[in-house]
């Protein structure tokens, strides 16, 4: 043990460089994990947070709010499905808005629900639920209670859109990485008509459903999908996971994590293999004067744990301040579970990678100390 530590103290640059490499890799892995989680949450947080347990898109909408339009005959069919306990229209559009106290205009996604229990948000971190048209719940990353948000009709001269007051805030409630407001159907309808006076009618994008007593969400999904090929019903969780782009984001990051995850043990394994090779004369001598193979391997493994552990601590320390920041409009978050999982995985892989070096240590023949063979 003391031998391992003494060697590390004497070769600070060598071990320091390795710890730096591991730390950088850990930092990159954790940062990308945070970006992946933040990206997915910013994409579909609003779908996860909204209150309707079942969402029905039009098949043509391909599981996006904005792409889906429910024509009246289809709406009637959906509402009439056996097992529906409650149903409500949900509309969604992205608008240009001006927010009180801020310069210029910005984007905002507006989600209007006919029934607040089917398409609004009930898990508020601040403020209260809307009680009247013109009131809204905002995504906390983008709005504050009391903000007044004016819809700006783009390309419509002299038109003025409705004004919304933010009365409540919800966490992780963005849609498509855009500041998001949850409001009533009537307010949404007014916003949509102000942005496009040519619109003949404002149709719902999605129908929110709650199952009747004794009917499960999955059974209701099945019943709706059986009624029409034009209806695409999904449970809340499935609607979030199957939003186009979410699976691609996850797959892309998995490949990246796999590659980084391979680099860490390889770098560690290579380093200790070379170090053992360089020290073979000294290790042979130690064996000749009575040090057991197990003692030397233990010393090696202590160094592996210290190097990988040091890299993990340093990498996590670098990640900590970054995880409090925002990348564009994606809010990052410190994920203790990710730190724990990656720490265990990388430490395990690091120890595994040192097995080749350990085998070399165990193969040392003490007799070679008398022939000089250990130095080869």
């Amino acid at each position: 043990m003391s031998l391992a530590l003494r060697e590390m103290r004497r070769a600070k640059a060598r071990f320091g460089l390795l710890i730096a490499a591991v730390a950088l890799l850990v930092f990159l892995i954790l940062t990308q994990q945070a970006i992946q989680d933040g990206l997915v949450t910013s994409f579909v947080g609003a779908i996860r947070q909204q209150t309707a347990p079942v969402l029905v898109y039009s098949t043509d909408g391909q599981r996006t709010f904005q792409g889906s339009v429910i024509p009246p005959p289809l709406e009637e069919q959906i509402r009439g499905v056996e097992g529906v306990g409650a149903s409500g229209r949900i509309g969604q559009g992205t608008f240009t808005v001006s927010v009180s106290g801020r310069d210029g205009t910005e984007d905002a996604a507006l989600i209007g629900a006919e029934d607040p229990a089917l398409g609004s948000v009930d898990d508020l971190v601040e403020g209260r639920a809307p009680e009247a048209d013109g009131e809204a719940i905002g995504s906390r990353a983008d709005f504050a209670v009391g903000d007044r948000v004016r819809i700006v009709p783009v390309g419509v001269p002299d038109a003025e859109g409705p004004e919304l007051e933010v009365v409540g805030l919800a966490d992780d409630a963005q849609l498509q990485v855009t500041p998001t407001l949850f409001t009533s159907w009537a307010t949404y309808e007014a916003a949509a008509l102000s942005a496009n006076p040519d619109a003949a009618v404002v149709l719902p994008n999605v129908i929110g459903l709650a199952p009747a007593d004794g009917v499960t969400d999955a059974e209701l999904v099945e019943a709706v999908n059986a009624v029409s090929d034009d209806a695409d019903a999904l449970t809340r969780a499935a609607a979030a996971d199957e939003t186009p782009g979410v699976a691609q984001v996850r797959q892309s990051f998995q490949v990246i994590f796999l590659l980084y995850g391979l680099v860490v043990p390889l770098v560690t394994g290579l380093f200790f293999l070379i170090v053992v090779f360089q020290k073979s004369a000294a290790l042979t001598l130690l064996r000749a004067i009575g040090a057991s193979g197990a003692t030397l391997v233990r010393s090696l493994l202590v160094q592996v744990v210290l190097v990988v552990g040091g890299g993990l601590v340093l990498g996590t320390a670098l990640y900590l301040p970054l995880s409090q920041m925002e990348v564009g409009s994606i809010a990052l978050r410190f994920d203790a579970t990710a730190v724990a999982v990656w720490s265990a995985l990388l430490l395990g892989l690091g120890l595994l990678s040192a097995l080749v070096a350990a085998r070399r240590v165990l193969a040392i023949d003490p007799i070679e100390a008398t022939t000089g063979g250990g130095g080869r």
Binding site: F27, D60, Q62, T96, G155, P244, L270
Partner: protein, 372 residues
């Protein structure tokens, strides 16, 4: 130098693990770069196809086609600057496309564009009503010339009469028809988004050769009295929501990965140099200069990096071939592969430079039993 190459040939195992690590880093660089290129190509192809010096959106539309609306009066103001035949309307709508022989829920995600000024690869005149040119990527869906696609819930029929390459938008493949076709399909399928006669989402503008008066995009916004936000094509691409953040994030990750490559190469060759201190002492005693010895180390780093890059390139090409169309937005381009290999080479040279001091410090006296 010959000694360095001979060592590589005779003891390849010594360099194998470093080569594997650098190969993984090369693959990471190429994969990250390929993802970035794929995401950008999938979002910007339709804009890159525009034969334009400026793209004009409504003021406040944040360069979003869906939110922009320009009426005939704005068009007239723009036409006064460059001439009527140099201005073309552009409109888009994202819909699902139904094809014969496929299931009722098996739709192709499509963006239908209506245009007046033809994209670079298309004939000057827009096609007739109900006719469209299709993005080459749609061939993977079994779409060919003559294929009829039924768009949206209204099943608006359009017939494919030809193809153009690299014209994706918002991650989806595109169809290109006349403004009339676009208006009809939009009104039938998106009644809430329908536009009046003469209204478009954006204007594509070609500059007049003899025009005077300064920067085109500024002149256009001035001519419309601030009712528009005009961009160059590159500016319109950069202004696409999220694109610049996406590019910055990926480039930062790529940058840190290059730093890791520097550290890995530095570590590996520092250890090798320490191991060879005695040998270098002998070689110096025999007259080899520090420069010659270091050149050998550099050569080994270059060879290891070249092998890693070559394997990385081959793996990237294999990955590109293996990834099913429409799954990951991964695009392999020669520029990206060569750029990644070059970045890795620079990282290797920077990393190996850390060994220079050790080579310089080797004392020839160590060859005759002095301190190593």
């Amino acid at each position: 130098m010959r000694l360095a190459l001979r060592e590589l040939r005779r003891r390849p195992n010594r360099f194998a693990v470093a080569t594997v690590i650098l190969t993984l880093i090369a693959l990471l660089l190429m994969f990250l770069g390929g993802l970035l290129d794929g995401l950008e190509a999938g979002s910007t192809g339709a804009l890159r196809q525009q034969p334009a010096d400026a793209v004009v959106y409504a003021e406040g539309a944040e360069a979003s086609l869906v939110r922009s609306r320009l009426g005939p009066d704005v068009r007239d103001a723009v036409a006064e600057v460059v001439g009527d035949d140099r201005v073309g309307g552009l409109g888009s709508v994202q819909l699902g496309g139904r094809l014969d022989g496929r299931g009722p829920r098996d739709l192709v995600p499509i963006v239908l564009f209506g245009y007046e000024l033809a994209p670079d690869a298309l004939p000057e005149e827009p096609p007739g009503p109900g006719e469209v040119f299709a993005d080459e990527a749609l061939r993977q869906e079994g779409i060919d010339e003559g294929t009829v696609i039924r768009l949206g819930p209204a099943r608006s029929e359009v017939r494919v009469i030809g193809f153009l390459d690299d014209a994706q938008y918002s991650g989806q493949s595109s169809l290109w028809g006349s403004l009339e076709t676009w208006r009809e399909v939009l009104a039938a399928n998106r009644p809430g988004a329908r536009v009046g006669e003469g209204t478009v989402q954006a204007l594509v503008v070609q500059d007049a050769p003899d025009r005077q008066g300064g920067d085109l995009v500024e002149v256009l916004d001035e001519a419309t009295g601030g009712a528009t936000d005009s961009y160059t094509v590159e500016g319109a691409i950069d202004a696409l929501p999220g694109l610049s953040q996406q590019r910055t994030t990926f480039n930062q990750i790529i940058g840190v990965t290059v730093v890791i490559a520097i550290v890995v190469v530095a570590l590996f060759f520092a250890l090798l140099t320490v191991e060879r201190t005695g040998l270098y002492g002998v070689l110096k005693a025999l007259g080899a200069s520090s420069g010659t010895l270091f050149a050998g180390v550099v050569l080994q780093a270059v060879v290891v990096t070249a092998v890693a890059s070559a394997v990385g390139i081959a793996a990237s090409l294999a990955l590109d071939a293996a990834i099913p169309a429409g799954s990951l937005p991964f695009t392999v381009t020669p520029g990206r592969l060569v750029g990644s290999a070059a970045a890795l080479l620079v990282a290797a040279l920077a990393g190996v430079a850390f060994s220079l001091r050790r080579v310089l410090r080797v004392d020839p006296a160590s060859a005759i039993g002095g301190a190593q």
